[in-house]
């Protein structure tokens, strides 16, 4: 049995981080499933009792890494998806709006119900993927994406950092509630990686590429911290009895 940690591009830092850890112990491997943009589509499906993916990029990477074109039920999956919330707060809509609870008087307040609807629109296919995994008896847990970054270009365009934090926290809460209902464990980001406000500390920012600003990824140092948490989770007795029993690593 292999424990696969995979997901959107945020899992690249996890891949690098895992590579830097010498004492992994169990058979834990990581790969990048593909671009998070496909999470806004119905990217999974059940076929002959297993979950596979409908997006070519995901299918290619899944098979290339695991040798199988589906989420093998013999293995355990750590999915780094569902908390990449830049997709929600980076929209220009937030340049002039705030979540109502923290709304500046000069900006448009957005009710919690509307914010929740926006978050649900972002998360719905990931949640559907989770439900399909549960339905087929595929064992998995969810690995947090890094917290939001204060240097996202949307801040220069007018989005308030307070709004970013609020949206990120609310979206995480809703995802955690969903996972709790399914009985699926969530491995949160290391608290030391975040500022007191809840943003990723600058020392964990991924490096920019030549001519291209990277404003939402974390670096391999963060990835190493996060993977240490994942490994600790896998060996702890806090994990869900169902998962722990089947993983057999608790």
């Amino acid at each position: 049995m292999t424990i696969w940690v995979c997901g959107n591009s945020q899992s690249r830092a996890l891949l690098k981080g895992l590579g830097a850890i010498s004492d992994v112990g169990a058979d834990v491997r990581a790969f990048v499933l593909g671009n998070a943009k496909y999470e806004l589509t119905d990217f999974s499906r059940i076929d002959q009792g297993t979950v596979n993916v409908t997006v070519e990029e995901y299918a290619r990477n899944l098979e290339s890494a695991t040798g199988k074109p589906y989420f093998n039920k013999e293995d355990v999956w750590g999915l780094c998806q569902g908390t990449h919330n830049a997709r929600i707060f980076r929209h220009e809509f937030w340049n002039n709006c705030d979540p109502s609870d923290i709304a500046d008087r000069r900006r448009r307040p957005i009710s919690l119900a509307i914010l929740d609807a926006l978050i649900e629109a972002d998360q719905k296919y990931i949640k559907l993927f989770h439900r399909r995994l549960c339905e087929t008896g595929t064992r998995f847990f969810v690995v947090s994406c890094p917290p939001a970054r204060a240097d996202h270009p949307c801040v220069q365009d007018g989005t308030r950092p307070e709004a970013i934090v609020y949206i990120d926290k609310r979206a995480r809460l809703l995802m955690k509630e969903h996972l709790e209902k399914l009985g699926v464990m969530f491995v949160d980001y290391p608290p030391e990686a975040a500022t007191p406000e809840g943003l990723l500390r600058p020392e964990y920012y991924a490096a920019d590429r030549p001519g291209v600003k990277d404003a939402h990824h974390a670096n391999p140092e963060y990835g190493m911290m996060m993977m240490r948490r994942v490994l600790a989770f896998l060996s702890s007795d806090r994990i869900d009895p169902l998962v722990s029993r089947k993983i057999g690593t608790a």
């Binding site: 790969f31 980076r90 929209h91 009710s111």
Partner: protein
């Protein structure tokens, strides 16, 4: 031999036989001849009863410059947008069934009227009495509601300044009013939200003189904001769901629609800036044989809506620009809903994905 008389020179549309009896109801000609052109660069705002939603939607989809002061949040489905009353009208005021409610809306926005009605609470959720279904499950707190209302009224205050054509669909004469200060509510307290207290609220059925006076008040305040403003009035063909009068609902409907239709006629005669579009006649008049109603004889079928819109826009477009107009509409919709699958961040993400595959 017939002698000359005023009817001799009248066009065929003036005669029942040639205009109605001898032609298919789908082919009435000259039923709507616009008093003024509605151009695609004219800023258009809309309000009114539920039928006004169709008009607003069609202006947008056909590429007209529809004023939108509370734009919709991104990535919500059409169903969700409708639930939250986003982009249904020019601001999130919901349905406005009576013209006095419209006048009071602008008076509240400008600070000229402070209503005694504030917030309705039901089961720990909070509702705006002036737009009780604007959030399908109410607001989370009184503060959240007040913040939204303050912003909303601020946008409404700007609306008339930014509008060149105001479209209003008259819906009802029956309304529920606060006894204390005459605040007109869009719904009866206790139906969608709130609770009914007969010592606090009373029923009022507006008569012709009241509706006309309110319409003239609205025209005056709109012209005060924008002297070049034009108005397009229509009457909703949708009958009353229920009447609070002692009359039969059919009789109450005919009264209500007759008053509203007569007011539109008077406004058309009195104001050169006013045009009337006969959506009521196109759906609800007897030559239409109720063919555009659903089996409940109340809801207008999609085919009926399409027919009404076709008549309206055919009168305002030439054949040659129809495709251009549609393309403009499509372009605007594409621009307004930036593709969530295409964002600069995703270039970075693609890079990350590609790099992860590197040995």
């Amino acid at each position: 031999m017939m002698m000359d008389n005023p009817y001799s020179s009248m066009p065929s549309r003036a005669f029942w036989r040639s205009a109605v009896a001898d032609v298919s109801p789908l082919e009435f000609s000259g039923l709507y001849e616009p008093r003024f052109a509605i151009t695609r660069n004219m800023p258009i705002a809309a309000a009114g009863s539920c039928f006004a939603q169709h008009i607003a939607r069609n202006f947008k989809s056909r590429g007209y410059r529809f004023v939108q002061l509370e734009p919709s949040p991104p990535n919500l489905s059409a169903e969700q947008l409708e639930q939250f009353n986003c982009e249904v009208y020019s601001a999130r005021y919901g349905n406005i069934y009576s013209i006095r409610q419209l006048v009071q809306l602008f008076q509240r926005a400008s600070g000229d009227f402070e209503s005694c009605e504030d917030i309705w609470e039901n089961d720990g959720r909070y509702y705006d009495p002036f737009r009780p279904s604007i959030e399908p499950n109410g607001f989370a707190s009184p503060d959240e509601l007040r913040r939204d209302r303050r912003y909303h009224l601020g946008r409404v205050k700007r609306l008339l300044h930014r509008t060149g054509l105001f479209v209003f669909t008259f819906g009802l004469t029956e309304a529920w009013v606060c006894r204390e200060d005459g605040t007109v509510l869009p719904t009866c307290p206790g139906t969608i939200a709130g609770s009914f207290d007969p010592t606090r609220y009373e029923f009022h059925n507006f008569d012709y003189n009241e509706v006309l006076a309110d319409a003239e008040s609205f025209i005056a305040l709109a012209l005060d904001s924008n002297p070049g403003m034009r108005f397009l009035f229509t009457v909703s063909p949708v009958p009353l769901t229920a009447t609070a009068t002692q009359s039969h609902v059919l009789q109450a409907t005919v009264y209500s629609k007759s008053v509203l239709r007569a007011v539109c006629g008077a406004l058309y005669q009195r104001y050169g800036q006013v045009d009337y579009f006969p959506s009521y006649e196109l759906v609800a008049s007897h030559p239409m044989r109720a063919m555009f109603f659903q089996p409940n004889l109340r809801s207008v079928s999609p085919v009926g809506v399409e027919h009404v819109m076709k008549v309206f826009f055919a009168a305002h477009s030439s054949d040659s620009d129809t495709e251009e107009v549609r393309e403009r509409g499509r372009r605007r919709r594409r621009q307004s809903k930036s593709d969530p699958l295409s964002h600069p961040d995703d270039v970075i993400c693609d890079e990350e994905v590609l790099e992860s595959a590197a040995p």
